[in-house]
């Protein structure tokens, strides 16, 4: 194998987002996941003779809202088309989708890269369509069809091939998840299939002054962000090796489909050649085109609000937070809003951030919720931050108090008193303790004075002794000050 090959990774994403509307795309069936097979169906989503589709207005509005967030051109006239193909999970044997007049096109998404820079990824189009049902093969000689999902509204988003590393592909997926969750248009849970990402991957290989393009591979079955990144990483290596072995390049019709095997962490060939499907698209005669006027568009746009990346950057500028902290706080909208409420209630931003992202997140995870839903008011969280900042409690006591008031929203001062967690900053009392400990630990003092190997360790030991003697209530900052002053005064120190 050649030593080093110069190449560029090219990835575009085809994305399906399940919209969290109350009912399905073209009928009144409630849109809830799960439920016993074929329990959430009606003549329309079963495709029974004589039934007719009616567009779900909320789904259209969710789609337009998302497309607006993706900086797309919104079509003022959009229509529906039928995509014809036979499959048992497709009751009508055609899917209602949008072909030549999608509801939006030509936008972009900005994604924060790990180095803190922002990259812009083109969006080719975003359109609405209905989902199919699910075939299952767990009944011996028979296959079964569950149509609960049939007719669920799907937003299909196609990106430009602007992604150039496996991490970028993952970050793009994560940013999209953050956006649709901010907008409240999707639960966007990958495990539950609310979002499906299908990367189209190939390499531009530069060799001896020439550029070779490897055949495009589409990867399916990705159900986590990790799988997205790993599958692309795997494909890079696989395509590189294949090219070096066979020299195969991209041709018309040699696009292949691979499935991600999460157990073995490899991509597996599913379809050799892009089958020349003829979907016989034509305008859906059962639905009327949608005309979007200014008033309606403005109504939809007014629900946009501050988008996550905007918020993240504002947090960095306004609160002096690190890129990382701002990203963690803005990962979901509720947490970001909670943080701002805590700051509003008088907490120092950095302290509030630490309380929320460290102890807060841990407690939230334990309780299977988000920080804002822990039942601690921003006022009490702010008080906790202030007490910590003033040295009234230690950071570990703050964590303890936070855990104690989950769901109760008790005043933290009350807990601190009751649990004896208030620190003493009374210099006189602390000085007495210091003196006592110095007297009791002559060996350690000697080590420090003689600047022995373990001098540093001995100081720590003395600190510990003093704090212990105070039953943990001495403010460590003041203890440290007094101890250091005392040690400096000892003979032999300079």
């Amino acid at each position: 194998m050649a030593a080093k090959v110069d190449y560029k990774l090219i990835v575009g994403l085809e994305i399906h987002v399940h919209l969290a509307t109350k009912s399905k795309m073209f009928c009144g069936c409630e849109l809830v996941y799960g439920g016993s097979p074929n329990s959430r169906v009606c003549p329309v989503c079963l495709g029974m003779p004589g039934s007719l589709p009616v567009m779900n207005k909320q789904a259209y509005e969710f789609a337009v809202l998302t497309a607006t967030a993706l900086n797309c051109q919104i079509a003022r006239l959009t229509k529906w088309d039928r995509k014809n193909y036979y499959y048992p999970d497709l009751p009508k044997n055609y899917q209602i989708t949008q072909y030549d007049l999608p509801l939006s096109h030509d936008g972009f998404i900005e994604i924060p890269l790990e180095d803190g820079t922002i990259k812009r990824i083109g969006i080719i189009r975003a359109h609405l369509e209905e989902d199919a049902g699910k075939n299952t093969h767990e009944m011996g000689n028979f296959s079964a069809v569950d149509l609960n999902r049939a007719g669920a509204p799907l937003l299909e988003i196609v990106t430009a091939p602007d992604l150039n590393s496996p991490a970028e592909v993952r970050l793009m997926a994560q940013e999209l998840q953050r956006i649709v969750r901010y907008l409240g248009v999707s639960e966007a849970d990958m495990q539950k299939g609310h979002m499906r990402f299908e990367p189209n991957v190939n390499l531009h290989i530069y060799k001896e002054g020439q550029t070779y393009k490897t055949p495009i591979c589409e990867i399916k079955n990705l159900n986590s962000f990790r799988a997205i990144e790993r599958s692309v990483t795997y494909e890079v290596q696989r395509q590189l090796e294949e090219f070096l072995e066979t020299g195969k390049t991209m041709q018309m019709g040699n696009k292949r489909t691979y499935g991600w095997d999460d157990v073995h962490q490899v991509t597996v060939l599913q379809r050799e050649k892009e089958e020349s499907h003829d979907y016989r698209y034509f305008p859906e005669p059962d639905l009327v085109p949608v005309e979007l006027n200014d008033i309606w568009l403005e109504q939809i746009k007014s629900r946009l609000g501050e988008l996550p990346l905007q918020k993240q950057q504002r947090f960095i500028g306004q609160y002096g937070l690190s890129h990382y902290d701002a990203a963690v706080l803005t990962a979901d909208k509720a947490t970001a809003q909670y943080f701002e409420a805590v700051v509003q209630a008088g907490a120092d931003a950095k302290r509030a951030c630490n309380l929320i992202t460290q102890t807060g997140q841990k407690l939230a995870n334990q309780n299977n919720t988000t920080v804002d839903k822990l039942g601690i008011s921003p006022q009490n969280m702010a008080k906790l931050a202030q007490m910590t900042d003033k040295g009234q409690i230690s950071t570990s006591a703050a964590a303890q108090i936070m855990a104690a008031i989950v769901g109760k929203d008790t005043n933290p001062e009350q807990i601190a008193k009751a649990e004896n967690l208030l620190q003493t900053s009374d210099a006189g009392a602390i000085e007495a303790l210091v003196n006592q400990v110095l007297a009791e630990n002559a060996d350690a003092v000697k080590e420090i004075v003689s600047k022995g190997k373990k001098a540093q360790k001995a100081v720590g030991f003395l600190m510990g002794q003093i704090i212990q003697k105070s039953k943990g209530q001495a403010n460590p900052k003041i203890v440290s000050e007094i101890l250091n002053r005392k040690l400096a005064q000892l003979p032999g120190q300079s």
Binding site: P43, M48, P49, N84, F282, D286
Partner: protein, 489 residues
């Protein structure tokens, strides 16, 4: 006592208590029992259910409660309109045992108007045909001459009306399927404007062309039936809203003639029909002139292309609409299938008849990549040109008049071996569906074999009120609609 009554007269008698709804139902059911075996109009008769409905109406009348527009009127429904009673077969083996769990919008409307539904009538399979010979289940004959077809695809409903096996009927019209059998059977058939009547529950053939309408003995009955079934339905996105095109009181207006009526005619089109039809239509125009109307000759240069455009658009839509009959979810499944591809191919091969297969193949071809522009897209352009022809004609006149069909009812088998000849039988009716405007067929004479001839009147979109009044002007001065075939059981 019931013989010769039209639906409105019957209703008035039932409302006033002179006739009981159950007498009317019994009368119709007895005639069906006696005559249907030789005519084959009904596929399915719901005697018990009909009597139950009739008794309920009698109870309402007896209790002095208000009753609906169709109080106690026994009605036949074409078997491509869903009704929870019995099966809805579309005249196809593939749906021979299909029982819809829902009523079509029009069935709900009929029941809400206190109609009595007698049964479901035969049709060309999935409404594809002009003679009802394509039914996969049964043969229906023309009550005027049992060696001849009743027309189609609503042949069962038309034959039931002509034979007095109901007092009104519903059909569907995608390319003439109400008007042409009405013409062949000597009754009135109305295709309302596309969007006037909800298609919810009408099994789709060509979705952009299909429309439900009444077949009746007279224009007045058609007005009453339209009154009942018309109006917006939110389950059909293509049904027009009440602001854009309100449903007016068709019935109270129908006797009012149109002053200074202007009738557009295309002389070459009338000339194309066979002599008996041509002459009857010309005589009808003369009568209109006597009633004060003026004739305006217009050009409709694209009218002839309606057959080509129709058979591309209708079959394209049909190829997709009928894809759902795959043996997987409901309907016929081939016992000879071994995997899912065979479930599709064998169920469809065994379940569909020849004409349906032909149209599915034509439509599939027209939509295929590489042919789409040359066929489907071009057909849509032609459709627009035909629309323009109609707009131009209606700028000069209140309505258009022409034959419904080039001939009177033809013999069984006469056109079955030559689909193109069969398609040409629709030459006068297709353009109305392509443009969406309303059209009516009213009896205007008989040929020398005593076979009925229909006059077609076409008016602008959502002007059914006017269309019915124009039709009634002629009907009130003629007796063709009162003539009945002589029938022996």
């Amino acid at each position: 006592m019931l013989e010769g009554l039209n639906a409105i007269q019957l209703r008035e008698n039932i409302r006033s208590g002179k006739i009981q709804s159950r007498q009317a139902a019994e009368y119709a059911l007895k005639r069906i029992e006696k005559l249907n075996p030789s005519i084959g109009a009904y596929l399915n008769v719901f005697a018990d259910k009909a009597m139950e409905q009739a008794r309920a109406i009698d109870a309402k009348v007896a209790a002095g409660k208000p009753v609906g527009l169709l109080a106690g009127v026994p009605i036949a429904v074409k078997d491509n309109i869903c009704y929870t009673e019995g099966t809805t077969t579309c005249g196809s083996k593939i749906l021979a045992n299909f029982r819809p769990p829902y009523n079509a919008h029009v069935v709900e409307k009929l029941l809400a108007a206190d109609a009595v539904i007698l049964g479901k009538t035969n049709l060309d399979e999935f409404a594809m045909g002009s003679s009802t010979e394509n039914s996969g289940l049964q043969k229906t004959v023309n009550p005027w001459d049992k060696s001849r077809v009743p027309g189609g695809s609503s042949g069962g409903s038309a034959a039931a009306m002509a034979a007095g096996l109901c007092f009104a009927a519903l059909g569907s019209d995608t390319g003439g399927s109400i008007r042409q059998p009405a013409s062949f059977c000597g009754i009135v058939g109305l295709k309302p404007t596309y969007g006037r009547v909800s298609r919810y529950g009408l099994v789709a053939y060509g979705s952009s062309l299909d429309q439900i309408g009444p077949l009746t003995t007279c224009v007045e009955d058609a007005a009453m039936m339209l009154q009942v079934i018309a109006g917006h339905d939110q389950r059909d996105s293509t049904s027009v809203d009440n602001q854009t095109a309100p449903v007016t009181d068709y019935l109270s207006q129908v006797e009012k003639p149109i002053d200074g009526l202007k009738i557009a005619i295309v002389p070459e089109l009338i000339d194309k029909a066979e002599a008996s039809v041509r002459n009857a239509v010309r005589a009808a125009l003369e009568l209109y002139k006597k009633l004060g109307a003026t004739l305006v000759e217009v050009q409709m240069p694209h009218f002839d292309y309606s057959i080509a455009a129709y058979y591309v658009i209708a079959t394209a839509e049909a190829s997709s609409n009928l894809a759902r009959y795959d043996g997987c979810h409901y309907g016929y499944r081939s016992p000879n299938a071994h995997d899912y591809i065979e479930v599709y191919s064998k169920s469809r091969a065994e379940g569909f008849g020849a004409e349906v297969k032909r149209r599915i193949m034509l439509g599939t071809f027209a939509l295929s990549s590489g042919y789409y522009d040359a066929y489907y897209l071009k057909a849509l352009k032609v459709r627009n040109l035909i629309r323009r022809d109609f707009t131009n004609a209606f700028a000069k006149a209140d309505c258009l008049m022409m034959p419904v069909a080039p001939s009177t009812a033809f013999k069984f088998g006469e056109k079955m071996d030559d689909p193109l000849q069969m398609y040409l039988a629709d030459v006068y009716t297709l353009a109305v569906n392509l443009t969406g405007v309303p059209g009516i067929s009213i009896p205007c004479g008989f040929d020398d074999k005593k076979l009925p001839i229909g006059l077609q009147i076409i008016s602008p979109a959502f002007s059914e009120d006017k269309l019915l009044r124009i039709g009634r002007m002629f009907e009130s001065k003629t007796d063709y609609h009162n003539q009945r075939p002589t029938l022996q059981g």
